[in-house]
């Protein structure tokens, strides 16, 4: 857990002003974020420095699914070699269909688990920073700080920008 300064703002403009002021504090990348009820464009208030990688997991999921589908079709053909409608035991078109369906399922699950993991879902830290008032139109600007001096300057910057409530909290961002 670390100290987080949470400023509550009426709208995007004041939050953006505070965001610009926080840049002057040279806080490490990723230590300033917003919590809002609607998604804000990247750069409107803060910038997300972390790259989005999970689409690669979706692609990997597709290949794993394709391999599973292919394996499932081939294995069942060989384990139970039943001639169906005069076709060969190992028939290509049905294999393509099963492979395709399982591949798409793999990509979906890859997106679900990869996206969920990168979003930090299913992680319930004992004290996660949050403010339910975001659902009433407020925007919470949160800055993880180190030391009293940085905390004081962050609070000052948020108050000057028009924060309607600025507080220091111990918790995880």
């Amino acid at each position: 857990m670390s100290t987080v300064i949470v400023g509550l703002f009426e709208g995007v403009e004041t939050a953006a002003r505070a965001g610009r002021a926080l840049k002057g504090l040279s806080l490490p990348a990723g230590s300033v974020t917003t919590i809002s009820a609607v998604p804000l464009p990247d750069g409107a208030v803060v910038t997300d420095p972390a790259p989005i990688r999970f689409p690669r997991i979706a692609i990997a999921g597709w290949f794993v699914g394709a391999a599973a589908g292919l394996g499932l079709s081939l294995a069942t053909y060989m384990l139970y070699p039943l001639v169906t409608g005069g076709k060969t035991i190992v028939s290509v078109p049905p294999t393509l269909i099963i492979t395709y369906e399982v591949a798409m399922l793999g990509a979906l699950l890859g997106t679900l688990f990869g996206g969920g993991r990168e979003m930090g879902l299913l992680r319930f830290p004992p004290k996660a920073i949050h403010d339910p008032r975001i659902h009433d139109g407020k925007i919470a600007l949160c800055a993880r700080v180190e030391g009293d001096e940085q905390a004081r300057r962050a609070i000052e910057a948020m108050r000057e920008a028009g924060g309607i409530e600025v507080r220091a909290e111990e918790g995880e961002l």
Binding site: L108, G120, R123, H135
Partner: protein, 469 residues
């Protein structure tokens, strides 16, 4: 919607009373009326009756149905195609509207996606109902057993099982992921057991900037993935028929024809569901005539497409006069004339001229006429696909007509009740309106003055999601 006096250049969310907006959009979760209990009671009773009759059928045997030689597929299979078809448009519409950034989409998304999930659950049960010895359904699972039997992946029925499973998982995931921000909202607005319930379901979503960015990319990816899956599902359902050398079924046009028919009935289903939600939960200010107008335009296009496909299929058989196929089509003028007329009138004659009129499309009560008509017409079409082809199969000495018994009607009524019950329970415990999407739309909307008039202007960050997806 106004909460604060608007200033020029403000986005619409800034002058919206969000507490009131939440109350309006969450009415289904917040208020429980006697009508809801009555609806649940009736749907539950019909479902119970359907289950009892199904048990009777399972214990007695399929002989209690109207099946005969050669009609071994009847009401159950027609209903399977019908329910899977209905499932098509919910997720598909939602995905297409999401990818094309249709600005009017937000209020339609959730209700349509939920429709897909529940119609698929009902549709997915029907092959099990029709199986005969239902308790052996696990034979379809690929697992090593002492019998050394493995599912036959060369059978179109196994393709169907795989496709429906993939689509069901995909649709449920699409529905659930789309709901996460709204579940987080309900978590923050509720108390007691509901808070615990929504806390668990919202998976710790808080709405941080990083979470929102990834959430958008994930939504776009899901939308991209779900469209080809949706198309493949109904293509494969059509191949259950088209792979067989049965006159009337063995046609190359079947896959696209089924996909078009599924989207057609699915959009009609979405219109009906939206109209019911609007009335039941007083969503008049959210589900506006504009939404029905746009859905009506889609429906009108699909009416034409369906008509085009049906005529193409009919014309080739009519001109070719292949005796086996022609006997099937001739029966449309015989014992199946009522079904044929119902299909043509309800799918084309009624809806097409009506949907051409803007007055009809923008009136919620009037647009229900073509929508209900299409659902009836498409059910007739499903029956017409399944039954005459078997009843007039190659050898005239085995021709026989088919009529369902009370058993099939009861079980299918139970299936319909199951859909209604699931939908009502969903509307009670989950956000039936995509609240976050609606708020996002308001956040992106400003009033812009052009000359002497003021128009809505909707901002969009170009290509951010696509760049990743």
């Amino acid at each position: 919607m106004s909460g604060v006096a608007p200033r020029p250049g403000d986005h619409h969310l800034a002058h919206t009373d969000e507490a009131k907006l939440f109350e309006r959009l969450s009415r289904s979760n917040l208020v429980t009326t006697w009508k809801w209990y009555l609806g649940v009671g009736i749907a539950g009773a019909v479902l119970l009756w359907g289950v009892i009759v199904f048990m009777y059928m399972a214990l007695t045997g399929m002989g209690v149905t109207g099946y005969n030689k050669p009609v071994f597929w009847g009401l159950y299979e027609a209903s399977l195609v019908f329910w899977i078809g209905l499932s098509h448009s919910g997720t598909l519409i939602s995905a297409i509207l999401r990818l094309t950034h249709a600005t009017w989409r937000a209020p339609v998304l959730r209700g349509a996606e939920a429709m897909t999930a529940f119609t698929l659950m009902v549709g997915g049960l029907i092959p099990i109902i029709h199986l005969g010895r239902n308790w052996r359904v696990y034979y379809a699972l690929p697992y090593p057993s002492s019998r050394e039997l493995w599912p036959n992946m060369r059978s179109p029925l196994m393709w169907d099982a795989m496709a429906i499973t993939t689509y069901l998982i995909g649709s449920l995931t699409f529905l659930y992921v789309g709901m996460i921000p709204d579940l987080a909202l309900l978590r923050d607005k509720s108390a007691g057991w509901r808070r615990k319930f929504y806390s668990a379901l919202s998976l710790g979503f808080r709405g941080t900037h990083a979470q929102w960015r990834r959430y958008h990319v994930a939504s776009t990816l899901f939308a991209i993935l779900i469209i080809p899956i949706a198309v493949s599902v109904h293509s494969i359902v059509s191949w259950d028929f088209a792979m067989a050398k049965v006159p009337g079924w063995h046609s190359t046009i079947f896959a696209p024809y089924f996909v078009v028919g599924a989207i057609f009935s699915g959009i009609a289903g979405v219109v009906i569901v939206m109209a019911i939600l609007r009335k039941a939960f007083r969503l008049e200010s959210v589900l506006t005539p504009l939404h029905f107008d746009n859905l009506g335009k889609l429906l009108c296009t699909m009416t034409l497409l369906w008509g085009y496909f049906y005529f193409t299929e009919f014309l080739t058989v009519w001109y070719n006069r292949n005796p086996e196929e022609w006997e099937v089509f001739s029966s449309y003028a015989g014992p199946y004339l009522p079904l044929f007329l119902t299909m043509i009138v309800c799918n084309f004659v009624i809806p097409f001229p009506m949907l051409c009129l803007k007055r009809v499309r923008r009136s919620v009560s009037l647009i229900l006429v073509p929508a209900i008509s299409i659902v009836i017409g498409m059910y007739a079409e499903r029956l017409l696909i399944v039954i005459p082809s078997l009843a007039r199969r190659n050898d005239p000495f085995i021709w026989a007509n088919y009529f369902p018994t009370w058993v099939e009607f009861s079980v299918m009524a139970g299936a319909a009740a199951m859909f209604v019950l699931l939908y009502m329970l969903f509307a009670k415990f989950f956000p039936i309106m995509a609240i976050s999407d609606i708020k996002e739309r308001l956040f992106h909307t400003t009033d812009r003055t052009i000359g002497g008039t003021t128009v809505e202007s909707i901002a969009r960050v170009e290509g951010e999601e696509e760049a990743h997806a």
